[in-house]
Symmetry: C2
Subunit: 174 residues, 2 copies
């Protein structure tokens, strides 16, 4: 299981960025995103994408981040511009259950110790959305981006010159 | 030269996302970002990162996007979830001068024709920040993230357990 923990989410300041974090998690192969601050609107936005484009993908907001980190049985990765360069560390990160911690602004010092790895997607300031995308892309060996979703109503067919959208209405027989 | 054109920037709605787009462009090896709407605050934010963390990197806002696209001599790439999957197209994209067009929300139909390639970083909805990061990472063969910047005051040394920041004050002899 691949899960993402978004820490430090503030409404409305981070609404759009955290939405991008959540959708990036889904699109690059993660199974769930947990957000520390309760945000029903964010949940609805993400769940509406799951209904339309498919799942499974879970969002939980208002979670106790300490409990999630301490209770996590797999590997804990903290993404930070201060960490080891991804290319120098990726070989040492085991495959298996993984929790990726993505902060908004400055994070508590304890994150650096609670994590098994502090990983920098380059040591320059940029974006937690970019960092999460590239981490998942590397970690899944580019396969995250090929994930097949099921149960959605809309599917996009790659098109070099326009838009091809297939609407799939599942007929249910009782 | 690698340049990024951000289209459809609206203040204040897109302020943070466009900041992430610009910083991602810089951190992943682009040389410049052009933004269609004039935004002095955005310019100042990005220029302050360049002063502190180094350059060269250029930001221009309030540009005429049609002139930039039409006048571009190299390859024009439009990033869109409707395009060809990056992994199916990257081999055909020539190395050399490249303009990467990143829209906010729905873009005019003409973008699909003006571009040499319409490229999807996966055909799922996520984030233009994520799309730009992964495109640059693939296009530069991961070297964008290793770019060396010069003239900055701050340098981050990778650290697996905390923060190591070196402040470099250049002494000037007259």
């Amino acid at each position: 299981m691949i899960a993402v923990l978004r820490w430090g989410h503030r409404i409305p300041r981070d609404s759009r960025i955290t939405t991008h974090v959540a959708l990036t998690a889904r699109a690059f192969g993660a199974d769930a995103v947990y957000v520390d601050t309760e945000d029903k609107e964010l949940e609805e936005t993400v769940n509406s994408v799951v209904r339309r484009f498919g799942g499974p993908f879970e969002i939980k907001t208002g979670v106790n981040w300490r409990e999630i980190i301490r209770g996590w049985k797999g590997t804990k990765i903290h993404l930070t511009m201060y960490g080891e360069h991804i290319d120098d560390a990726i070989q040492r990160i085991p495959q298996g259950d993984i929790l990726i911690i993505v902060g908004a602004e400055k994070v508590p010092k304890e994150f650096y110790d609670l994590a098994d790895f502090n990983i920098a997607i380059g040591n320059q300031p940029h974006s937690e959305v970019a960092a999460l995308a590239v981490f998942l892309d590397r970690y899944t060996h580019r396969k995250g981006l090929r994930k097949e979703f099921s149960g959605g109503e809309i599917r996009i067919i790659p098109n070099p010159r326009g838009k091809t959208v297939v609407e799939e209405h599942v007929s249910r027989r009782e």
